[in-house]
């Protein structure tokens, strides 16, 4: 039992739940290949931020869609005027 485990909740650590949490929640270890590979990436390019790329792509796709849509509307109008 942890030192901070049974400090409150009078009835046997809330029906023994604290004891179960202490005994069942054990730390897990990440794979050494993952740890080594991430260390390498971080120390070689510490300023790289992965998630910004996804946002940029979304903005670019949205912008391209709007430009294409506007162009299409303009072309349809022009064609109708010519007819």
């Amino acid at each position: 039992m942890t030192t901070n485990g049974m400090e409150q909740a009078g009835s046997k650590g809330l029906w023994g739940l604290e004891e179960k949490l202490s005994s069942l929640l054990e730390p897990v270890t990440p794979g050494p290949e993952f740890v080594d590979a991430l260390r390498l990436k971080l120390t070689q390019s510490p300023s790289v931020i992965l998630e910004t790329g996804k946002k940029k792509v979304i903005w670019m796709v949205a912008a391209a869609g709007m430009v294409t849509g506007a162009l299409l509307v303009w072309l349809l109008h022009r064609k109708r005027d010519n007819d």
Partner: protein, 200 residues
Amino acid sequence: MQKLKVFNNAQGTDVDTVKLAVSGDAEAFSYLYEQNVTRIYNYIFYRIGSGADAEDLTARVFHRAFGHIEKYQEKGVPFTAWLYRIAHNLTANWYRDTRRRKEVSLEDHTDLPHQSELPERELEKTQEKEVLLNAIRRLPPDRQQLILLKYLEDLSNGEIAVIMGKTEGAIKSLYHRSLIALREQVMEISGTGELNEIKD
């Protein structure tokens, strides 16, 4: 396995090391990384239940932290606490983006043997663990965070308060409410509310 210890560095060491890391010192980066990678992975793994996703999110936490390390300012918040806050936010984003708050079996984790290979007692323990983890993952994010920090990291209420940006009194109160809510979730999942006794 021994419980992890957090905050074993003096805050001054944190600040000095972070300063070195900001100036591009690779050894300082490595030191901060080594000190924190396992605990951040653990926290995320228990929050989401998948080893592969936990690796992905752990990588994002460190990329974000080291990419914005110049924004870290020591104001009574140790570097580790800052990492936990990033991990908590990214985990919340992960749930929001993937919309798959499904219950994930512990068997997904490669460290655990398949249930059919386990002796009866171990099988019972694994099943208990599965019920408990599913119950934890049904709690609101702040309650999950509190319980994992307390039992995985063996942190005091004061240390958890620093990480979560609350007072120690608020943490005590939230902890008690979290245990009651957890008990209710266990009852709902197991049908009886009883986790069997583990005989060691």
